[in-house]
């Protein structure tokens, strides 16, 4: 039985599989609540120190406690990313910080550096340590090493293919977490100090300025070259007297390392059947709308698979929903093949997602068929809005009558966080969201 289970399992010969954990990013307390309400089994957050998103809101210990309390009601867990490469000056505070995380009820830390891992194991043994993707772990011997060190879970490098994950699962009994959705470092995680060189910001301590998404010109050195280059265009005088051969023409897109975003929604059965224990969504810097939408779509897909694996089909509306929140083209990363020319973003990027998060439902009154909405973005009467909640998008309607708190009629929702009562066509509930196409 054990042997059968540990092999990749394909349709028709399926043995009982564990439902994977759906792990979502939560950049702040509000996002945490949405991520969990919309279906995450666990969330990962950043604290004030030792995390890789120094620009994000990040949680105070007080907010962590509140987040953990909230999560408990749903049976969900809260992890904290402590995934920097530690420098000497960071060492002294580690123990105190980890004790505080433990006291706040955090379930696990995600750590890359043994300087943090060792302290955690000694000082707060009940706090789980998950090995961060920043260790770029791609082989089963390394996974086994970390298991022998007492770690219950390894987050693999983003370069692991399904086949490689299967081999790792076959050789080591340990929880494997893998990124399944979101933006990706195009470098091997941690093996990039572009920001350090370009801007003196330490990318591996949270200072990454996304230099991989900048535009570059690609040249060939024309000095000492006797034969003609088969790639170069006309020589360009970048510096006087020295031949630089540009590998692009005026009208060409610039060179970039920037990657399309990962999206494995269309391959949920493969991820489940290979035995990935935790499906990780990237994006602590992303909006509430994004987190709620992405989490919810994967929640529905995973649940649908487990309800009836043999008749599982991808619902087109899940993909539609994803695209309402996504702002980059998507691909499948390294799961099936090494990314190629179609997997990078050479064109100018569209910055905004096609839909705005317009409002949050706070209350619903059945008698009057009205809802109290907290305004999150401009909308007005006559516009079409869409309601969605933990079961997905469920109806569209035109904005009819609206009133402010004093009962004065409103033509438009202009004020951030204003409480607005409006007529709704179907029953809604707290935590449902309104979105509007721009």
């Amino acid at each position: 039985m054990e042997e059968v289970l540990s092999k990749p399992i394909y349709r028709g010969k399926r043995v009982r599989l564990e439902k994977p954990e759906l792990l979502a990013p939560a950049g702040n307390l509000e996002k945490l609540k949405f991520a969990i309400h919309y279906g995450a089994d666990a969330v990962y957050i950043g604290g004030q120190k030792y995390g890789l998103r120094s620009n994000a809101d990040n949680f105070t210990f007080e907010e962590m406690r509140e987040g953990v309390e909230f999560a408990k009601k749903y049976g969900a867990k809260v992890f904290v990313a402590t995934n920097i490469y530690v420098h000497n000056e960071d060492i002294d505070g580690i123990e105190q910080y980890l004790r505080s995380l433990n006291d706040a009820g955090i379930s696990a830390i995600i750590a890359a550096d043994p300087a943090i891992i060792e302290v955690a194991q000694r000082a707060v043994p009940l706090l789980e340590v998950h090995l961060s993707t920043q260790q770029s772990t791609l082989n089963w011997q390394a996974v086994k090493f970390w298991k022998d060190e007492g770690l219950p879970r390894v987050v693999l490098g983003r370069e692991a293919s399904l086949e490689e994950i299967a081999e790792i699962k076959n050789n080591v009994e340990i929880e494997i977490e893998a990124f399944i959705h979101g933006a990706m470092c195009s470098s091997i995680s941690g093996r990039c100090v572009l920001s350090n060189h370009f801007t003196d910001r330490d990318s591996n301590r949270g200072g990454c300025c996304q230099s991989c998404r900048w535009k570059y010109d690609l040249f060939e050195d024309g000095r000492d070259r006797e034969e003609e280059s088969d790639m170069a265009m006309q020589p360009a005088a970048l510096k006087p007297g020295i031949t630089q051969l540009p590998l692009f023409e005026e009208e060409d897109h610039a060179f970039t390392m920037g990657s399309k975003d990962l999206c494995m929604l269309e391959h949920i059965p493969d991820l489940i059947e290979v035995g990935i224990d935790s499906f990780k969504i990237e994006g602590r810097m992303k909006s509430i709308h994004y987190v709620a939408t992405v989490v919810n779509v994967y929640r529905q897909a995973i649940d649908a698979y487990f309800e009836d694996p043999d008749h599982y089909v991808l619902k087109p509306e899940w993909l539609d929903d994803l695209h309402k929140a996504a702002n980059r083209p998507l691909n499948t990363g390294f799961f099936y093949d090494i990314p190629d020319h179609e997997d990078h973003i050479y064109e100018p990027e569209e910055k905004a997602a096609p839909y705005d998060f317009a409002g949050l439902v706070l209350e619903y009154d059945e008698a009057t068929q009205t809802a109290v909405i907290q305004q999150r973005n401009f909308f007005k009467q006559g516009q079409e809005i869409e309601f969605f909640g933990p079961k997905g998008a469920f109806f569209k309607q035109t904005v009819h009558e609206m009133w402010d708190e004093e009962g004065q009629p409103l033509e438009a929702a202009r004020h951030p966080l204003q409480r607005i009562r409006m007529k709704v066509d179907q029953p809604v509930a707290y935590f449902d969201m309104l979105r509007r196409k721009h």
Partner: protein, 310 residues
């Protein structure tokens, strides 16, 4: 006499090994095509044996760099390879992935282990952790400042190695970024390699004076620094601190250049070792290097004196 300071140089061929030993290298770091990465050349098994022999005759230690990102496929031949290295008499293996550490401990415990976590080797606690796992040396990250290196050294329970000269890696991806770009432009590379000999480089709009070498090999795409570290002027700070090994990375440099660099650092180390109290940096050592320096690549202090924020 003060303690011994090693001068480590990366070598890409047997000829380079001989030339660099003549110039004053006391440690040679070499690599093979599978487990090595960003090495000036890749050694076959027979060349590894020969390099060790050449070294032994001169009392120079030959070390294998095995810091590539390890995949399952690469594990299959690893035990045999470690056994071969033991048989060849390799002095040390430089590792980054724990799978290499585990294999050396299992199959050739007599081979020394050096931890080179590349960008990860940033603090003494982690270095000492790897020390307890069996490493006897740490190669400090190239992004550390002088102060950080000196503090690291104070707390280390194992030897320290610091890169004092040469270019450094800024970025490594498993993606084939140059090939992909050329296909995207509709001008795919038909023949010829995109490897380091091609002389490809990137220029960023706000930094047009900086050329960042970029190349592709079977391990992916690599982008290198536009400047060459040179800490020769302040080498005495590292000597005083007792850094055990100074590394010159000869990657993407002509042999004549590397030879001059080795001679310059050898002169400085010997002068310091002879009489630390009277040691004085001499401009002519640096001039030996400047004469052969690529006019398009600046000699800099790298991150030694740069404030980094995050």
């Amino acid at each position: 006499m003060t303690k011994q300071h090693e001068l480590m140089v990366t070598a890409g061929s047997l000829q380079e090994c001989a030339a660099y030993m003549d110039a004053g290298a006391s440690e040679l770091l070499i690599g093979d095509a599978c487990y090595g990465i960003r090495m000036p050349g890749y050694f076959s098994d027979s060349d590894i044996r020969e390099a060790v022999r050449l070294g032994q005759a001169r009392n120079v230690k030959v070390m294998m760099s095995m810091t590539n990102i390890m995949t399952n496929d690469m594990l299959r031949l690893l035990p045999d390879y470690i056994l071969f290295l033991k048989d060849a008499g390799v002095h040390a293996v430089e590792y980054s992935d724990p799978s290499v550490l585990a294999a050396v401990k299992t199959y050739a415990p007599e081979i020394r282990l050096h931890w080179n976590g590349e960008m990860m080797s940033t603090n003494y606690a982690t270095a000492n952790y790897w020390g307890r796992k069996g490493a006897s040396r740490v190669a400090a990250a190239k992004e550390l400042s002088m102060d950080e290196i000196l503090e690291l050294k104070q707390h280390l329970e194992i030897e320290a190695q610091v890169q004092v000269h040469g270019m450094t890696n800024m970025y490594h991806s498993k993606r084939r970024l140059v090939e992909s770009y050329m296909i995207h432009q509709g001008r795919p590379v038909k023949n010829g390699s995109l490897d380091k000999d091609r002389g490809l480089f990137l220029v960023e709009a706000d930094r047009v004076q900086e050329k960042y070498p970029i190349f592709e090999d079977e391990h992916g795409t690599h982008i290198m620094s536009s400047d060459d570290i040179c800490i020769l002027e302040d080498l005495h700070l590292l000597l005083q601190a007792g850094i055990e090994s100074f590394k010159i990375d000869g990657f993407m440099k002509p042999v004549s250049y590397n030879t001059a660099v080795i001679k310059a650092y050898r002169s400085a180390i010997d002068a310091y070792t002879a009489d630390p109290g009277k040691y004085k940096f001499r401009e002519e050592w640096l001039d030996m290097i400047r004469e052969l320096q690529d006019p398009e690549r600046e000699l800099t202090f790298g991150f030694f004196y740069k404030e980094q924020v995050y």
